[in-house]
């Protein structure tokens, strides 16, 4: 109490007049900052907890199969002979993920770059705005509806009109031999290609639009055609486009529902693209709810999830680093 009365009177009146200096206000700002920061830290908690929990749940399988899990090719939750142990290896779904994603990029990337060029270089602004909106609507359609459309519209079309002639012309390649099946690795890749279009093309368009005017004007002044100009634009935005492609790859690798519905869901090391297969995501979606016993079955599926988590983490980190480093453009969160 004594200390309080010692406080000079004129100072305390100053304090109440210029309240901006008051301790209370400062601590209000500070506590707001701390509060917001704590909430913003939720991503650390979520990602950290996710990694920890998935490792914890897959530990049984990690201990039993070791690194061999990654190149094992058997998947026997219930072994044919009771004296045998269940055995799990994830190479076929890894292989399926790689092949379907490769098909998706092979088909989707050229089209996306074409869209990016058309929207940023060739098309009139107003038209470009409407078409951009339509392409982005593709991203809004739920994955399960892509799957439904894939089963009942795309597969009958491909199976009767496209695949036979594909086999007739390119059948000498081993990847196009064998029985033609509708739900197959190739169909999965095609659906993925459609699904990555909005992501890759939206970023590509933004990357091209961010290329400085002077670059274009310089080549136009030399008498370049539109195509020659856009070659310069593409080479200037090269690394941004690579970032977009890697981000598209991330989407293709992680896509679950649509691919589960069209890829055929069969555990095998396929040779032909007309064969059914599995991907990392689809094997989890397809088997998880039925995987009640033995406990190592669930643990093996969790380890597949762990592989997927790490793959997605690496791919997305790479894509973000490239995109962030090369351009300051805004990539809108709702698209990507």
């Amino acid at each position: 109490m004594e200390n309080r009365t010692k406080f000079p009177h004129f100072l305390s009146s100053l304090r109440s007049k210029f309240r901006i200096f008051s301790k209370k206000r400062l601590s209000g700002d500070l506590s707001f900052k701390i509060f917001a920061a704590l909430i913003a830290c939720n991503v650390f908690a979520v990602l950290g907890l996710m990694l920890y929990k998935i490792i914890q749940e897959s530990w049984l399988s990690v201990r039993m199969y070791g690194l061999g899990f990654l190149w094992g090719t058997t998947w026997q939750p219930v072994p044919p002979n009771p004296s045998m142990l269940p055995s799990f290896g994830a190479l076929p779904p890894i292989w399926g993920t790689l092949v379907t994603s490769a098909i998706a990029l092979l088909l989707g990337v050229p089209i996306s770059i074409g869209i990016g060029l058309a929207l940023s270089e060739f098309a009139p602004k107003r038209f470009g705005f409407i078409v951009s909106f339509l392409v982005e609507l593709l991203a809004a359609i739920p994955s399960v509806i892509y799957g439904l459309w894939g089963i009942f519209v795309l597969i009958p079309f491909l199976q009767h009109n496209v695949y036979p002639s594909l086999q007739a012309t390119l059948g000498f390649l081993p990847i196009f031999q064998g029985t033609i099946r509708g739900p197959s690795v190739l169909t999965g890749g095609i659906v993925l290609a459609i699904m990555i279009l909005p992501t890759v093309s939206a970023i590509t368009r933004d990357v091209f639009a961010a290329v400085p005017r002077s670059q274009r004007e310089a080549v136009i002044a030399l008498g370049a055609t539109r195509w020659e100009t856009s070659k310069v634009v593409m080479s200037y935005g090269r690394s941004g486009v690579i970032g977009a492609i890697i981000l598209g790859l991330g989407r293709a690798v992680g896509e679950t529902m649509a691919i589960t519905m069209v890829v055929g869901n069969s555990f095998n090391m396929f040779d032909s693209l007309f064969d059914p297969g599995y991907t990392l995501a689809s094997i989890i979606a397809n088997e998880f709810t039925e995987a009640s016993s033995p406990p190592v079955y669930i643990s093996a599926l969790m380890e597949v999830g762990l592989v997927l988590f790490v793959l997605a983490l690496v791919i997305n980190t790479l894509a973000r680093l490239i995109i962030w480093r090369t351009s300051k453009m805004k990539v809108r969160a709702e698209v990507v």
Binding site: R25, V43, I115, I145
Partner: protein, 278 residues
């Protein structure tokens, strides 16, 4: 033919190819919309929207519990996800230069692109293994998907608020945190609402996380710790049914309802904010 002609022809070809790419990209969109409408609309009537889900292969009934379940799960997910997302976005926009902000921004983008099945696994481990297949588990999984989207759109919307508005408020002696919450936040509310709506549209159609958390059911909502139905799960189950004549039209009908919900939100949002974020 001289060199100039060759260049000109090449130019024509490449530009047409770019436009062709546009057309190719729009074919699936148009096809999905037309097929869903033509196959889905005949299946929709009042009883389809309000009645209980019948067992596979049995005629009659509807998708009432699925619509109810989607609304409940998405609603709870939003209650969890929106405040967390908005406050994270505020932090990123207000303290954008800090190291923590760059790290958070980076991880938020990584989380946005996490495969949905991994989010489902997370929900399963975290909640289903403790209290069982439940509405709560599904809502938490969807909230995890929603938070990064809301965070980033809130951040972008708040960055668009002119610095002069903030300075005017600070000049009046309003402390910084109050300026942020009252002045900046309310100037950015349209952009933030846009982000929230788009995030809701995005999670309403998610199937994989729900498959591992709410499991699906044919019955009306029975409590927060019980499994429940949801539209995307209903579509998936109907599509896997062997009774093509009875269940496949239902899958299309449910898809039509889901697409109307999601595209409705998207088109409305774009219409009201046109020119601003385009």
């Amino acid at each position: 033919m001289n060199r100039y002609m060759i260049r000109k022809i090449k130019d024509r070809i490449m530009v047409s190819l770019a436009y062709l790419a546009l057309i190719i990209a729009l074919i699936p969109l148009v096809s999905i919309l037309i097929e869903t409408a033509t196959r889905g609309i005949p299946a929709i009537n009042l009883s389809f929207l309000t009645e209980r889900i019948p067992p596979l292969g049995q005629p009659g009934g509807g998708i009432g519990p699925a619509i109810q379940g989607t609304l409940i799960v998405v609603g709870i997910a939003s209650i969890i996800g929106v405040p967390i997302g908005v406050f994270s976005g505020i932090y990123l926009a207000e303290f954008r230069e800090t190291k923590l902000a760059s790290a958070t921004r980076f991880l938020t983008d990584v989380l946005t692109n996490m495969p949905s099945i991994v989010i489902g696994i997370f929900g399963w481990i975290l909640i289903v293994t403790v209290i069982g297949w439940s509405v709560i588990a599904g809502a938490v999984a969807l909230a995890v998907m929603m938070i990064p989207i809301v965070t980033r759109t809130t951040e972008e919307a708040m960055k668009l608020v002119p610095v002069t508005i903030r300075e005017a408020a600070l000049a009046l002696g309003i402390p910084r945190w109050k300026t942020t919450i009252t002045v900046v936040l309310s100037s950015a509310k349209k952009g933030i609402a846009t982000g929230i709506l788009l995030a809701i549209a995005r999670i309403s159609g998610e199937t994989a996380p729900l498959l591992l958390t709410i499991l699906g059911s044919r019955f009306w909502f029975g409590g927060f710790t019980e499994p429940t139905a949801a539209l995307p799960l209903a579509i998936f189950n109907f599509s896997q049914s062997p009774y093509s004549a009875i269940d496949w039209p239902r899958a299309w009908g449910a898809s039509m309802v889901l697409i109307l919900m999601i595209l409705g939100i998207n088109v409305a949002v774009r219409y009201f904010t046109r020119g601003k974020y385009g």
